[in-house]
């Protein structure tokens, strides 16, 4: 599989978005020059090698939900700099910049929508907003989405892409892992389905909480999924990682995800699963 070649370069290869206004886009993996309109039509999947370009939260809304059914919730919840955190930049500035860059209010978007006419609660993490990191806002929005699913007895679907818990909120971020997982345990007790969709990359505190707790766990091909990042592991063990390590196919092989689904098949598969479970 072509994307395995990318493992040593970590996230870099997929970080670059293709030239925004260009007519042609080069596939990061196979080098194929693709007509952009064709790529968009193909949901940003390279027709030649199957490489899944990273797409935005809005793209997943369009891919998964019936047209015009998304009712976004809690988009007025925003981050607070509770620790007065500052590294090379102030946390408040990082948040402001991310808002400006993405047009989003935070790294999670949640709402209600329909999949082939079936009502669901949808959560999507936005990797372009501070690496999809989970602080108090992401934790709260995922927790509320879960509560909503429980209250309305409709399935929850969360599409993850995240580097993990957000360092700038310290222990508050860490506790969001417990908060989201606890809500999911309630949902599970009520037998309300939860489908977790893992996209590139899903690591750290997000992987070690709600992302790994789905009744069904689906992954896009070639996504990096794991607890520790590859760089940290390489530094710890002092050796290079094997090919394909921590990619979707590796997780499938080791029994930690249910199925790898090409982005073009994502909606039909989810729709079928919803029929089976509801």
């Amino acid at each position: 599989m072509e994307w395995f070649k990318k493992v040593k370069t970590g996230l870099k290869a997929q970080e670059k978005r293709p030239i925004p206004d260009g007519v042609w886009v080069k596939c990061d993996t196979c080098g194929e020059i693709i007509y952009k309109k064709e790529l968009i039509q193909n949901l940003w999947v390279c027709a030649k090698c199957g490489f899944h370009f990273r797409i935005k939260s809005g793209d997943y809304v369009r891919i998964l939900l019936d047209d015009g059914t998304f009712d976004e919730l809690h988009s007025n919840i925003t981050a607070v700099d509770s620790l007065k955190f500052r590294d090379s930049k102030k946390y408040t500035d990082r948040v402001k910049d991310a808002m400006k860059k993405t047009g989003l209010s935070e790294a999670a978007r949640t709402g209600i929508g329909k999949v082939d006419g079936k009502s669901i609660v949808l959560g999507i993490l936005a990797f372009d907003f501070l690496g999809g990191s989970m602080g108090s806002v992401v934790g709260e929005k995922i927790a509320r989405a879960t509560e909503q699913a429980l209250r309305d007895k409709i399935p929850l679907i969360v599409v993850s892409s995240s580097g993990g818990a957000r360092m700038q909120e310290g222990a508050l971020s860490l506790m969001q892992m417990a908060k989201t997982s606890a809500r999911l345990a309630q949902l599970s007790e009520a037998s309300v389905p939860y489908i977790s969709v893992l996209t590139h990359p899903t690591t750290g505190g997000v992987a070690a909480s709600f992302a790994m707790l789905g009744d069904i766990i689906i992954a896009e091909p070639g996504a990096l999924i794991g607890f520790a990042g590859p760089r940290v592991i390489e530094q710890t063990i002092g050796q290079e990682l094997p090919e394909g390590f921590q990619r979707s196919e590796f997780l499938l092989e080791h029994g930690f995800i249910d199925v790898i689904v090409n982005r073009r098949e994502l909606k039909p598969i989810i729709s079928t699963l919803l029929d089976h479970l509801t």
Partner: protein, 329 residues
């Protein structure tokens, strides 16, 4: 007493020696000198407390990592009677970085689990420096389910620099193991008391950290990442660990302000490493009291309160809502 060579620690050691000396003299001296010696002792105690109160966050981290601090097995030795260690996750292996078993805390049988560090290099290799693999979290969960089955409370002692970042750990699902524990611990129908006894780093700590009460010993830290890890990512240099420690606000006092913990447990003068037995006796008294508070609660109420507790954690703004959601104060 091995010292680790930090200036503040040398001062404390010298003061503690002086204090021991004064106390010894006050035992066999003429009663006429007693008041004088008592005053001297008080002065020395105050001097030690002063040094402590002025430590910066990085120095607090160093204290939490002190190689002579009591570890889980030390607390068990002094607090628990009839302890039987139970091994293995029944799936893959026995992780030496997390220990656990059944024992009595005063008159109550409890399940106690905790991270276990080593003191010597050899011990540390055996314990993997207190960094658990998935089987450690799964062993802990197995023991907690045993506790639920026989309606015994659970005590979790946190002391880890993080979950182990290795190839095997990822192959066996480190993320899943931690996530599963958060999920299961939030619904375990018996009281769970969590105590940070040393280092509490990231998901590796939280993996045995969901409960009805979260307590921290006085000289410990708890955060989303270690200061070194944070520094190497945000400052691009692990050397900036001191700044990272300040920024992360990771002391027990900081977490109290953030509304995340319930109590700070005092340690013997100068730190728990000076007196394991005394540290364990303070912790034991605290656990007995808290178990007493939780013991009478019906399971459903316990679980409702536990989920409320974690649901309240977080700080954000929400305009147009009735109030800004905070858990501070």
């Amino acid at each position: 007493m091995n010292e680790t060579g930090h200036d503040f620690e040398r001062k404390i050691i010298a003061l503690r020696r002086e204090l021991d000396d004064v106390r010894a003299r006050s035992l066999d001296h003429d009663p006429a000198f007693k008041d004088d010696l008592k005053q001297q002792a008080q002065k020395l105690e105050k001097a030690i407390r002063d040094i402590h109160s002025k430590l910066n966050r990085w120095q607090r981290v160093l204290l939490a990592r002190h190689p002579q601090r009591p570890y889980t097995m030390d607390y068990i030795r002094f607090m628990i009677t009839d302890f039987v260690e139970l091994h293995g996750d029944r799936l893959f292996a026995d992780d030496k970085a997390i220990v656990g078993g059944l024992g009595k805390l005063a008159h109550r049988t409890v399940v106690i689990v905790g991270h276990q560090k080593g003191r010597s290099t050899k011990e540390n290799l055996y314990r993997n420096f207190g960094m658990a693999n998935p089987e450690g979290y799964r062993k802990a969960l197995r023991l907690m389910r045993l506790a639920a089955k026989y309606k015994r409370p659970v005590v979790c002692l946190i002391d880890t620099p993080g979950a182990y970042p290795g190839i095997g750990a990822e192959e066996r699902g480190q993320a899943e193991a931690i996530a599963r524990n958060l999920f299961e611990m939030s619904r375990l129908p018996v009281p769970i008391i969590v105590v940070v006894i040393g280092e509490g780093a990231s998901g590796g700590a939280l993996g045995i950290g969901v409960g009805d009460r979260l307590l921290m010993m006085e000289n410990t830290w708890y955060s989303v990442i270690s200061p070194e890890g944070c520094a190497s990512i945000l400052w691009r240099s692990a050397e900036k660990k001191e700044q990272a420690a300040e920024a992360l606000k990771l002391t027990p006092q900081d977490l109290m302000v953030q509304g995340l913990i319930d109590e700070i447990i005092p340690e013997p003068l100068g730190g728990a490493h000076f007196d394991h037995e005394e540290a364990a006796s303070i912790l034991k008294r605290t656990l007995e009291r808290v178990l007493g508070e939780l013991g009478g609660m019906p399971p459903q109420e316990l679980l409702d309160k536990r989920i409320e507790k974690f649901s309240r954690m977080g700080l954000f703004q929400e305009p147009n809502a009735e109030k800004e959601e905070t858990n501070v104060g």
